[in-house]
């Protein structure tokens, strides 16, 4: 399939256009997703193409419109609910965690809730503590939810299309610093399955596992490490829940060393989960203790110097890898 280079936001926009074209049950709802085209311009053109009933502008009422999404999904529509910042998803935790994640199970499997909560998180832009969080571990903790964190335009498009077609609630987390990134995206229709990790760089000396923007940092760290004679393998989880532990385990069996990079705060973060799973499943193959590179246990600060100190960085990943070798 031939490819062209497009931005991450364009890839997501294409996924939404294609899925809304394909299935009349798919609609998008959220703050400024319609007439304005979305604060990150991911939903640009949907209002013009599909009208106000399928590109639905809402008041600033996250609990309300997320709940409307759950109800619409329960009766067979396929809503994509955009929550502008993942920080604001805290206002919608009731419908997401108490309703969407649970109703299928508590109704004895007699219901589907095919809803996608599309949201955006992460730091690095000076947005400070209430617009920079990485809450993926919060949602990954909840049985019944699927959690996706793409790192490239190609993955973003293929994963979003799969998320929309999936019959379960999916929390689809984009990163604010990825929207402008560019990458090759196939011309025609394609899907990327949920629950499958991807080896973004093959290597033999150390495995670096990450997701979302942390994959980009891991790849640049891997290039620097290569200059120093260390050949790192970079595994992009892509889907945090369900986690493709098979791919991670295979990589560790090959490299015998594991660094986990996650932008969430250190305590109780998703890196801790990957670490625990690796100790449970591939302990015998490890030649060194597993190391986590995460954000510090602080709210994300505004000042650039402080924010950089709080977040994972290329250098922190390089240092972590060196510590294992």
């Amino acid at each position: 399939m031939s490819e062209r280079t497009i931005e991450f936001r364009e890839a997501l926009n294409e996924a939404l256009h294609e899925e809304m074209e394909r299935d009349p049950n798919v609609f998008i709802m959220g703050i400024d997703v319609g007439q304005y085209g979305g604060v990150m311009k991911v939903s640009k053109g949907l209002y013009e193409r599909f009208g106000a009933l399928r590109a639905v502008d809402t008041p600033i009422s996250e609990e309300g419109f997320a709940g409307i999404g759950v109800g619409a999904a329960l009766v067979g529509l396929r809503p994509v609910i955009e929550i502008m910042y993942i920080d604001f998803s805290c206002l919608a935790m009731e419908p997401i965690i108490n309703q969407a994640a649970k109703v299928r199970y508590i109704f004895g499997g007699k219901a589907n809730v095919p809803i996608v909560i599309r949201t955006q998180g992460g730091g690095g832009r000076g947005n400070a503590a209430q617009h920079s969080q990485s809450l993926e571990a919060v949602y990954a903790h909840i049985p019944g939810l699927i959690v996706v964190q793409p790192s490239t335009p190609k993955d973003a498009k293929g994963l979003l299309k799969s998320a929309i077609r999936n019959n379960n609630p999916v929390v689809f987390i984009e990163h604010k610093l990825l929207y402008n990134t560019k990458g090759p995206v196939p011309e025609g229709e394609y899907l990327i399955p949920l629950g499958k990790a991807d080896i973004k760089r093959a290597g033999s000396d150390v495995t670096i596992v990450s997701s979302s923007r942390m994959v980009l940092l891991s790849l640049s760290a891997a290039e620097k490490l290569a200059e120093q004679g260390i050949n790192a393998e970079v595994v992009d989880m892509r889907t945090l829940k369900p986690l493709d532990m098979g791919t991670i385990g295979d990589s560790v069996r090959k490299t015998h060393r594991l660094v986990i990079v996650n932008e969430g705060a250190h305590t109780g973060g998703f890196a801790a989960e990957v670490m625990a799973r690796a100790y449970e499943e591939v302990f015998d193959y490890l030649d060194a203790p597993i190391v986590r590179v995460t954000s510090e246990d602080v709210p994300i600060p505004y000042n650039e110097k402080l924010e950089l100190a709080a977040l994972p960085s290329e250098q922190k990943i390089i240092d972590a890898a060196h510590g294992l070798l």
């Binding site: 609609f27 009933l53 399928r54 809402t58 008041p59 009422s61 609990e63 309300g64 419109f65 997320a66 709940g67 409307i68 999404g69 759950v70 109800g71 619409a72 999904a73 329960l74 009766v75 067979g76 529509l77 009731e94 419908p95 108490n98 309703q99 109703v103 299928r104 199970y105 508590i106 109704f107 004895g108 499997g109 007699k110 219901a111 589907n112 049985p143 019944g144 699927i146 077609r165 999936n166 019959n167 379960n168 949920l194």
Partner: protein
């Protein structure tokens, strides 16, 4: 009004009362786990509203939800089995008293979260508008849930988008273990519809015909595309919040008053049917006996049903892709 409709409404009210009395007995015998909430004394609301709906219309219910489910056509056998946690129950024993649903009957679930059904009901109403299929969505909730933020958020959107949504506030006077009048800045709850541009109507919630009347009007409005209605149905929660509630917060004698023939919704409707010679005493007695038999056989079905196999623990967390 047709004789069939009178028959059906009386039948459902007695069925709910009999179901609740049996459920209470089973709970007192330690045959149920967790908590359960009795709808006794509020039967006219669920029955009056559901009598105004079609099978395709949807409802969301509450933690006090057995009555809504039965009024919308739920099967007492499957409900009783669920209350006892059996494999044959509506939810295979995974939900219990607070999570009964039957999507084929438009019952989008009871809900363990106070106000939890508000968003879901608004979503079903949004879907009806989206598909232009003429369905109406009813949201049952108590006066306690009236103070949840999501009521105001969805009421604004429902009013703005003229969704076919009927909010039915069952004003039973209590929010868990308190009188709700302690928590309203203005006790006139119908006013809570005014800022959102739709009517708020108060009705005697123990008069099934009055409830049916206002529900019918609200359904017509909704189907015409004129938007939501808030119905505030005044009633009284005869039992405690849960079974076992010590009721220390309640004025003595009040519940007894609401159970007398001038207040009790079933006795009131029964007397109406007799006074207007719609049914004879013997016809009603025969009907009541049949319903008690039906509930007894539901209990028997539940008791004879197997416990779920432990293997089903992991089923149904996720559906097929």
């Amino acid at each position: 009004m047709s004789e069939t409709l009178f028959y059906d409404m009386y039948r459902k009210m007695v069925l709910i009362r009999a179901f609740e009395e049996q459920a209470r007995e089973l709970y007192m015998k330690n045959m149920m786990r967790g908590a359960t909430h009795m709808y006794i004394g509020e039967e006219a609301i669920a029955v009056g509203v559901c009598a105004a709906l079609n099978k395709e219309d949807t409802i969301t219910s509450t933690h006090r939800g057995h009555g809504h489910c039965l009024a919308k056509g739920g099967d007492p056998k499957l409900m009783m089995a669920e209350l006892l946690g059996r494999a044959t129950g509506y939810c295979k024993g995974k939900g219990g008293s607070m999570h009964i649903a039957d999507l084929d009957l438009g019952i989008l679930g009871a809900n363990g979260i106070v106000g939890g059904g508000v968003g879901i009901a608004a979503g079903a109403a949004f879907a009806a508008k989206y598909r232009n299929d003429g369905k109406v969505s009813v949201c049952f909730f108590g006066d306690g849930a009236m103070n949840q933020g999501n009521f105001f958020e969805t009421a604004n959107m429902a009013g703005l988008w003229k969704l076919p949504l009927i909010y039915v506030c069952e004003r039973n006077r209590f929010a868990e273990f308190s009188y709700t009048d302690r928590y309203f800045s203005d006790p006139d709850l119908t006013k809570r519809a005014i800022p959102f541009g739709f009517p708020g109507i108060e009705v005697d919630g123990n008069d099934v015909l009055a409830v049916y009347g206002v529900a019918k009007e609200a359904v017509v409005r909704a189907r015409r595309g004129e938007g939501p209605t808030l119905i505030v149905a005044n009633t009284y929660r005869i039992m405690g919040h849960t079974i076992g509630d010590p009721l220390t917060y309640r004025i003595k004698g009040e519940a007894e008053e609401w159970q007398d023939p001038a207040h009790d919704p079933i006795l009131r409707f029964r007397n109406y049917l007799l006074d207007h010679q719609i049914f004879s005493e013997s016809q009603l007695e025969e009907m009541e006996a049949e319903l008690h038999k039906e509930i007894a056989s539901a209990v028997q079905f539940a008791l004879e049903s197997p416990q779920p196999e432990v293997q089903i623990l992991w089923d149904d967390v996720y559906g097929k892709d």
